[in-house]
């Protein structure tokens, strides 16, 4: 009986480890492959691994104005969308967590709903909506679309952080003489900070990465980097895409390391410091 159970535990443990390993490999191998391919000297997609190495695809990236314009646009749009989405999302989350009113749960679901609507639908709807209200500037349109798709993440991340803040901590500040707005600034906001930062980070990455919504909202002169990449791949497939992927991956690693140093990664993705 006990022996059988121990054997079962052992087997389950082994399967679990294999699954984790497979998942990690699945995620890492494509990145590694594209890393090596980005240094491939051949002008065609040859057999892996490459035999000669060069930086030609990186040069091609930096020489192509479509890419560079796309990069600048993407960064600007992501920055605007992140700021708007974070402020609005955090405010919405605070309102949702601080009060009980009829329809509160429905409102929360509404804020989170863009997550469940296909991005193609969001993109098309936003295009129609923007022209209906007279917004034809693609840059503004793109920011609007990106705010919509990122807001579920900023709301959710802030809400998760706020839920972890005990009511007594805020009341303690009030009992010590702080009016409610002061208690919010001194206690609630600093304790929810990790959630807000995590939400902002997710919003930025999501916006930077977005293709479907952007396809509808961009035009021929205002393109984001992912759209420029898609267009370029269609026109002439080459390994510039691999170079861009490698730059992206490197950028992400830098951000993650920075975040870990600044606030502690476990605090951003884990429980958060508000647990005291």
């Amino acid at each position: 009986m006990t022996g059988a159970r121990a054997a079962l535990d052992l087997t389950a443990g082994a399967i679990f480890r294999v699954l984790i390993g497979a998942a990690v490999l699945f995620l890492v191998i494509p990145v590694v492959v594209s890393f090596f391919l980005s240094f491939d000297d051949r002008s065609f997609l040859g057999a892996f691994p490459p035999t000669h190495f060069s930086l030609r695809w990186y040069r091609s990236f930096f020489d192509n104005p479509a890419y560079l314009d796309g990069l600048v646009n993407s960064l600007e749009i992501a920055a605007f969308a992140t700021v708007i989405s974070t402020v609005a999302g955090a405010a919405a989350a605070y309102a949702l967590s601080a009060s009980r009113f009829p329809g509160r749960d429905a409102l929360e679901t509404l804020f989170l709903s863009p997550k469940f609507v296909p991005t193609v639908v969001v993109g098309f709807s936003m295009l129609g909506f923007a022209s209906a209200i007279g917004v034809f500037d693609p840059f503004t349109r793109l920011i609007m679309g990106h705010v919509i798709i990122t807001i579920p993440f900023t709301v959710r991340a802030t809400l998760a952080a706020l839920v972890g803040i005990r009511r007594s901590v805020v009341e303690a500040a009030i009992s010590l003489g702080a009016p409610p707005w002061r208690a919010f600034l001194d206690v609630t906001l600093p304790l929810a900070r990790t959630g807000v930062v995590a939400g902002a980070l997710m919003a930025f990455v999501l916006s930077f990465d977005e293709v479907a919504v952007s396809l509808f909202l961009a035009d021929a002169f205002t393109q984001t980097l992912p759209i420029a990449l898609v267009a370029e791949m269609r026109a002439n497939l080459n390994l510039t895409v691999a170079a861009v992927s490698t730059i992206f991956a490197a950028g992400t690693i830098v951000v993650v390391l920075f975040l870990d140093r600044a606030v502690g990664l476990d605090r951003v993705v884990g429980q958060g410091m508000y647990r005291g």
Binding site: R166, S168, L176, G276
Partner: protein
């Protein structure tokens, strides 16, 4: 002028009255414990005094001033929460100085105040620690220091020792009592633990179902409980049902179990007789006019005390504590008599 006066306070949640016409006076500098089982309305009362629960009726006055129109941040009340509610992102020093900062008190005044409080609560040298780096007992003392820093008109403690383990609780209770004595602030302690109430407070206000049951010193509540609830909630009681009658030497109570016992109070009709277990003496002492014939059933040893199970003729078993240094206890099966003094036998009205 009393430190805190509650007059006929009512707080309803829907149809349920959590606090149902509570009136209580706490003298300046006095420590009063609001004691009662969970759900009796004691925490609601504390939150009403602090200003976090608006009351439906009645009045609350602190140092003679009605606080009805004052929001919680204007009441100058030091509040120690059950979970301490320290600010986890601030140092101990910043926690303690928070209330002073809100009052616009400058650094030159804050720092000496902080060191006085740290000395008082024996937290010297921990200024720069974060709450997460402190033990439970230290966190409790920081919470107290933070509440006292604002020199509150009134101090409210919500189950101050319930989050600590038993050994620490004992030590901190003594220390907390000493600190409260030293600062002399009017204090209301809310607790469900009678030991905490007895150890900390000058007087105990016993609550049940949103009302006051009895107010008095710990000894008064223990020796003269007013109701069956009071007698059962504070300490233990052995209950005898039966009838009161006029005997030769004064009023007597004829128990349904057989023994006839003298009683201290005969003004209660239709009640039961309550005796604290330790007032039953084996063997009887001089002055014990009441006698109960029993058979020793079993003796259990608990170090300082023995627990002796005695069987009445009716078959009912009583467990009484006997100090283990009080001589030999007759072996099981022996017929003996328990003695009890008349003033220890109290008739208490059935609830």
């Amino acid at each position: 002028m009393s430190g805190l006066a509650l007059r006929d306070v009512v707080k309803r949640f829907g149809a349920h009255a959590a606090v149902d016409g509570l009136s209580l006076e706490v003298a300046r500098g006095e420590i009063v414990a609001l004691l009662g089982p969970s759900g009796c309305g004691k925490t609601t009362t504390l939150r009403a005094v602090a200003g976090f629960e608006p009351i439906d009726r009645g009045a609350i006055a602190i140092l003679g001033e009605d606080v009805a129109g004052l929001p919680p941040y204007r009441r100058d009340i030091g509040l120690v929460f059950q979970d301490y509610a320290l600010f986890p992102h601030m140092t101990v020093a910043a926690n303690i100085e928070y209330g002073l900062r809100q009052r616009g008190i400058g650094r030159t005044e804050r720092e000496p105040r902080r060191s006085t409080l740290l000395r008082l609560t024996r937290l010297e040298g921990l200024d720069e620690r974060r709450p997460g780096q402190l033990s439970g007992g230290q966190q409790q003392r920081v919470a107290l220091a933070r509440a006292l820093a604002i020199t509150p008109k009134l101090l409210l403690l919500d189950e101050p020792l319930s989050n600590l383990d038993a050994k620490l609780r004992e030590a901190l209770r003594v220390e907390l009592r000493a600190i409260l004595r030293e600062v002399g602030t009017t204090t209301l302690v809310v607790t469900h633990d009678q030991t905490e109430a007895m150890g900390l407070a000058d007087r105990i206000a016993l609550m049940n179902h949103g009302r006051l049951v009895q107010v008095g010193t710990a000894r008064a509540l223990y020796e003269q409980p007013a109701t069956r609830f009071a007698a059962d909630f504070i300490g233990q009681s052995i209950w005898f049902s039966g009838k009161l009658r006029r005997g030769a030497g004064g009023p007597e109570f004829v128990t349904d179990d057989g023994p006839v016992l003298p009683v201290a109070n005969s003004d209660v009709q239709g009640g039961s007789l309550s005796i604290r277990p330790e007032y039953l003496h084996l063997p009887p002492r001089p002055g014990d006019t009441g006698r109960i014939a029993v058979t020793v059933a079993e003796v259990a040893f608990f170090g300082a005390e023995l627990s002796v199970a005695c069987r009445l003729k009716s078959g009912r078993e009583l467990r009484i504590p006997v100090r283990s240094d009080s001589g030999a206890i007759p072996p099981g099966g022996t017929q003996v008599e328990l003695g009890v003094a008349a003033e220890r036998c109290r008739i208490i009205a059935d609830d």
